[in-house]
Amino acid sequence: MEDGNFLTDDFLRQLINVGEVDILVGLPTHNNAKTVGSVVHTIRTGILRSFPRERAVIINADGGSRDGTPELITGVSIDDVRRDSGVYALRTLHAISTKYASTPQSEVAMRTILAAAELLRAKACIVMSPESESITPEWVTNLVRPVYSDSFDLVSPTYHRHKFDGLLMTNLLYPMVRALYGVKIREAYMPEFGFSGRLGSQFLGQNRWNDGIGENGTELRLTLAAVTGGFRICQSFLGKKDPVERRAADLVPTLRHSVGVLFSALESDFNAWSTVSGSQEVPAFGADPEVALDPLRVNRKRLRDMFVRGVSELESVFQTILAASTLVELKRIAGLGEEEFRYPAELWVRTVYEFAAAFQKSVISRDHIIQALAPLFRGRVYTFVVENRNGSANDVANNIESLCLEFERLKPYLLEIWKSKQ
């Protein structure tokens, strides 16, 4: 798609009518009619309650919904014709929508939102998930305010999550981003976040759109761009987040959009991350995130079975990706009984780092590399669940911290294999 006509004429006309805004809420959707209604009402409440004087707009970038999602969003507009008797607004609140393609791609949605933010000269922007059933009006406040009032450029969320929710975050993305980039951002691959117009514009201009690397996962790239660009980053506690049910088949696409994007970024960001040692806290607003401990059924047997089968079936793939010693160790633990099976932190970190280096060298198709990580990740999840099955919130936090430190400790190993691969 050409830059010049990336936005449709109709959407451009809508943007002209909206005009300059203070706050922009981006809402990427695709067939979210089940949840999006309550999400946009909550967003509107948050804006009217906390920012009644600011010029605000809700922008929906829809990937071709067939369930009436866009109509549910545009329906929350408030102006002098469409009024909601239960809502008082000082000024007009636009909610506009554009369909960008027949195939939903978060990259296109994000690019649309970023382009709109730049055209409308939005000071503070947030992106919200259309399927977040936990959202409250305070989420809007907590994501907007650090940008709008405290001049932060990126607001990363923290949540009150279940200890077994967001395991890709706790076992890979958080510790790896922390170890390599030196910042303790808990949710670098986030469904909700805030950013400044300044960061958005820079990212829009510099990002290599349509380069085929991460057609999704723009959120993570934005985070890494903020880190490497020296932008002011903070975390803001939003509250409780209910786990979203995922099918096992969702893991590979998720890995592509998150780990794939991270691995890809390591290549371009080498100068930035290779010189970093240790990690720093980022300013935080609101409560400290804690994990919930209520019982949650996890099919551990299935996790282990998928690990064992993966190690067996993908051995030839692993031979091109992993060091021989790592593969030997993986095969050894794959042979352990259910009670003895553990995927220890050090082995997990070495595995991830070796995958990253292999990705950089493209020893095989990069997509195959990402797919091959899936069964190993399941093995790691099995171990995390077992180790924290009876753990207190503090125990879980300590275990995650230990893993992070392991990632930091082994960072020289990554540098070593990264360079040797070169």
Binding site: Q14, N17, G19, R55, D79, D80, A89, L90, R91, T92
Partner: protein
Amino acid sequence: MNPTTKDALWYKDAIIYQVHVRTFNDSNGDGIGDFLGLEKKLDYLQELGVNAIWLMPFFPSPLRDDGYDIADYDSVHPSYGTLEDFRKVLDSAHQRGIRVIIEMVLNHTSDQHPWFQEARISQDNHRRNWYVWSDTDTQFKDTRIIFLDTEKSNWAWDPASKSFYWHRFFSHQPDLNYDNPAVREHMWNVMKFWLEMGVDGFRLDAVPYLIEREGTNCENLPETHAIIKELRRRLDEQFPGRMLLAEANQWPADLRPYFGDSDEFHMAFHFPLMPRMFMGLKLEDRKPITEILQQTPEIPPSCQWSLFLRNHDELTLEMVTDIERDYMYDMYAQDRTMRLNLGIRRRLAPLLNNDRRRIELMNSMLMSLPGTPIIYYGDEIAMGDNISLGDRNGVRTPMQWTGGWNAGFSSAEPEKLYAPLIHDPVYGYPAVNVAAQRESEHSLFHWMQRIIAVRKSSAVFGRGSIEFLYPANHRILAYLRRLGNESVLMVNNLSSAAQAVELDLRRYKGNVLIEMFGNNLFPRVGELPYLLTLGPYQSYWFRLRRV
């Protein structure tokens, strides 16, 4: 005899200029404006183009509330001249086609009025029942206090007669007792006195408060409406073509009854609209304006709203929500000394940061929205205010005629002026005065002359219907005014930035737009949305003409 009262609906086409005799022009050099001074300036008002003046109270008064505390209804304050001087003003104005509306404070008198002085002598005095008395201060407890900054109660203790008297405004303004037929009869006779002299109408002050009833908020009561109806009946019978204008700071729905079935007031101020015009401008959003006008009920065909931007009082924020009031204070009165009661005591130009474009835009809306516009004296040259003066006196300083001695207002020594002149570098009389603006072709004065002339060129503004267009660009306030075959289109850009707007004018397909200030043709209306671009705060007035 008033030669201008041929058309009974004259007030619909009027452009009213609000002036206080004291502030306008001093003919005898005592430092206080007077009737003979005003008479000398009627040519100026004619030149400006106004066709009615509203004179604020000029009656004998201790002037503790700028004349709204009347001590004698049948005379004029000696500082302003004599009854004969007033007659001269009346006749001279009529000769120029300018009607004269005077103030009538029905609700209360000064505590110095002989009626009250008699009433307090003893509880048996025959005037006693002309006012509202009580042994306690607990009656009518559901009634709000209007002057919150100065009054703690609507009752005041009278040590002379050892009882409480009722007052809705200052404690030195006791309310008359309209349950007393003698009071009602006497107040009609007061009005008759001035009508026989030739005044064209009354602005009746504080009308919602005439009657008190326990268990109510003592406002807008049916008995009050009955009194108004009786006054109107007598007015129509004995003085046809004269006009009553209600001052009732109420929500539109509560105001509507004051028009009755064309049997109460001819006109009423639209109080809630004014703050929302300022709010819409600051928000750069038409919503506050269109919303309040959508909520404004239909009024009988012979009735009319009276619109204003500023007047002698504070910019009242009684008829707004709390969130709107906070916004207005923060946007227009960050300095707390600018705030008074529930309002902002500032003139138009300082409220708008002396931004000529915004002043023009606000006047453009004032002149084109449905109603009769009222211009507060001095606003036509963007006079400033002096917030260091107490109460609302900061917006009541002498008119600035020239850059010379005392701004050309008076030959007195400056310290003898009733109020100090505005001296600051931006709004001071050397910079802002009538003489200088008359000299400059592009002055606000000349712009006001032009917009008044354009407004007077068509009855559609005073008498036509209104239909809002709702273009998707919310910064654009666009509406059609129609009367008979005539249609005009007004497009106002509330934004500080240039805007593009698409208007749905398909119903007018084939018409051309004629810009009314320059009589320039704009493209013909077709099937497609009509695209206009407007500069910051720009407004267009178009006549629609099929050619």
